[in-house]
Symmetry: none
Subunit: 402 residues, 2 copies
């Protein structure tokens, strides 16, 4: 359990909680003394929520640590990413909807190009596009290994994921990617005795894959990395008593959500308005909704300050749909900062807004922005500490002790 002391305190409640994550929300001013993306955006709705609610800043993982999206979301969900090291194989597989269960062994796969001697000449198979890769992945699905079940799914461009399911499997296997060209892909080698059988099974799979791919012009070889099993995280239901749904567009976020037992809602469209429409449709079926907005991060990564401002404004404009559902608790935050100025994720604290009309003690802040959040009365808190606050404001925790 992520918080051993909380679980015994859980109580039933009809409350509805929404965690709205604008990926990479935190920013930086371009010029000294200027405004950040969030401060520049016209956000009348979020500003109203800031006046009625409480502000703070979260530290995603630890001070100074720039998080990847997987660990950053785990922390927001209440699972310490320094404790729960989720193998990339499991994250990638779960992300594309492959069901990674306890005992399964998943891996990330890359297509590569081999010469006539079997040596790698391109570690990414010429970065073949998705439409070229999908039929090649289909061929891999035909491979059968006696005694185990394998599932393969395309991820993006030259990347795919594979899951092996059976008894007595173990993930302690070295990557088969030699990280250089001019040599052959490595064999799967176990680094613990318990994983030797799994490595042998994977080597059988790799041999068959080589035959299946032999006539491909570019993707005639493959490497496997990040062998991993299900991280065994307690589910939201067990840890928090929450029936939880994920409304996200990108596979990665769906993957992390699945690993903590959320139901991933599939839908068409990717605008905030469309995501909130899905939220409205599923409103009666869940206690907790994780809604993920990706484009704030994408714009930050592209160095597009104004683009990020516009995405934030589009989310603001759509929030009335969400408020119309009368949530009991609404959190608006990011998983990490992605300042357009840096064109990358960063370690800076993340703006955090908690709105809960029945129970929040408002502070003196009147706008949703980094400087206001830095002066908000929640202070600087680890992202890990936010789920207990959310449960409390959802009136879902009994008193500790008498």
């Amino acid at each position: 359990m992520p918080f051993e002391y909380l679980t015994p305190l859980l109580r039933d409640s009809e409350s509805k909680i929404v965690l709205l994550v604008l990926d990479g929300l935190g920013g930086l001013p371009i010029d000294p003394g200027g405004k950040t993306e969030l401060e520049s955006a016209q956000t009348p709705i979020m500003d109203k929520l800031a006046r009625e609610g409480i502000l703070g800043q979260t530290i995603p993982i630890r001070p100074g640590v720039t998080p990847g999206s997987g660990p950053a979301h785990l922390a927001l969900f209440g699972y310490d990413p320094l404790v729960h090291d989720i193998g990339r194989g499991a994250l990638e597989s779960a992300g594309v909807g492959l069901d990674v269960r306890k005992g399964d062994v998943a891996a990330r796969g890359n297509f590569c190009t081999l010469d006539e001697n079997g040596n790698i000449i391109d570690r990414r198979a010429g970065r073949i596009p998705t439409e070229e890769a999908i039929p090649v992945v289909e061929k891999l699905k035909s491979i059968q290994i006696p005694g185990v079940e394998t599932e393969v799914r395309h991820v993006k461009e030259y990347r795919f994921a594979v899951v092996m399911r059976g008894v007595d499997l173990a993930p302690e296997i070295e990557d088969t990617d030699p990280q250089q060209t001019g040599v052959t892909p490595l064999r799967a080698v176990a680094f613990s005795p318990g994983a030797e059988r799994t490595a042998a099974l994977y080597n059988q799979w790799i041999s068959q894959a080589r035959r299946v791919l032999a006539d491909q012009p570019k993707a005639n070889g493959l490497t496997l990395r990040g062998f991993a099993t299900h991280p065994g995280l307690a589910s939201y239901q067990d840890a928090y008593g929450l029936k939880a749904a994920c409304i996200a567009v990108y596979p990665m976020y769906k993957g992390v959500s699945r690993l903590v037992g959320m139901d991933v809602i599939e839908f068409d469209g990717d605008s905030p308005q469309e995501e909130f429409a899905v939220l409205a449709r599923m409103w009666d079926d869940y206690d907790f909704f994780f809604v993920h907005i990706k484009k704030t991060d994408s714009m930050g990564e592209d160095g597009d300050f104004q683009g990020k401002v516009k995405v934030i404004e589009s989310v603001d404009a759509a929030i009335p749909t969400l408020l119309g559902l009368n949530p009991d608790v609404l959190v608006i935050t990011g998983d990490h900062s992605t300042p357009a100025k840096l064109r990358s994720h960063s370690w800076h604290p993340v703006p955090f807004l908690l709105w809960a009309p029945a129970s929040v003690r408002p502070d003196t802040q009147s706008e949703f922005g980094e400087r206001n959040c830095a002066s908000g009365s929640l202070g600087n808190i680890p992202a890990l500490d936010t789920m207990p606050l959310v449960l409390a404001h959802g009136m879902r925790l009994n008193k500790f002790g008498a």
Copy 2:
């Protein structure tokens, strides 16, 4: 490693980092409602840096704990002093430039005055001045013990340090100072079986020392305390990937710096201007510079409020030299507070200023002073958390996870 999770994230960078420590910087107003030493000082340069940078307060060790200078610096350097209990023998020896290596056993020595029966009549040998003590320490250097190498060095007044070097030495030895007069100094007694040989070797050394000192009028005896070995701290190079230099005047600070693998730069002079001139001279040779200003603390200990104000102003006036080098990250802080009002170190939080033009998210503060730091957006953070922030702003950390 001080931060296990950081070391795998380290990446190369050309960035230059300066940690400017004004010892005992934090203060108190003399009268209720008044200004502290730092708030009273005219510091136009630091105020400009405060506007462009970010402020906070550090908790040196734990809330309410008044630190000694050794532990306070260790914490700033990223090593938890509650975990790394550095024996005073090792600290004192390293401080005076004795090379304490892993496996060596160092101790602090005090001269004392013995009567004709060998009983202590003055535990500090009449506090003999340095110039009187130095020739006596010279005599101790002649002592030779078969099988080990010993080095002795004068520290200050009646104090010296001794290091024993050889195979299978161990520091678990009780102090030989009985902490009272009228009795003889104690023999070196091991409190673990592994240290019995070392205790015997030290007893041989003590016996020879007694003969060497027999004709001294005051310093005719000695006691040894704080037996310790090298604490085995990971070096700055290993822990942070930083080639680090220490620019300090006092032995203690040089000692702590040596124990974390910094190069100690020797130079003449002790003004801020002279220290910054050394910094400029060594600029190309290091990634990280620890610059230590002692006199803020000395003035605080003397209860000299105005004297401390003047020292702070002299540092401010010298900072342009430092800024002319274009550091990427500049931290200005103290190791602890030494309010002139209290005439001693104290537990109060310490003003902390982080300036990093390329990456800092400025807050709303406009001056460098305790009240401003208490409202700064870094909040109250453990001193231990500052090195990861500094590495992040130096762009020396890769992303954690994907």
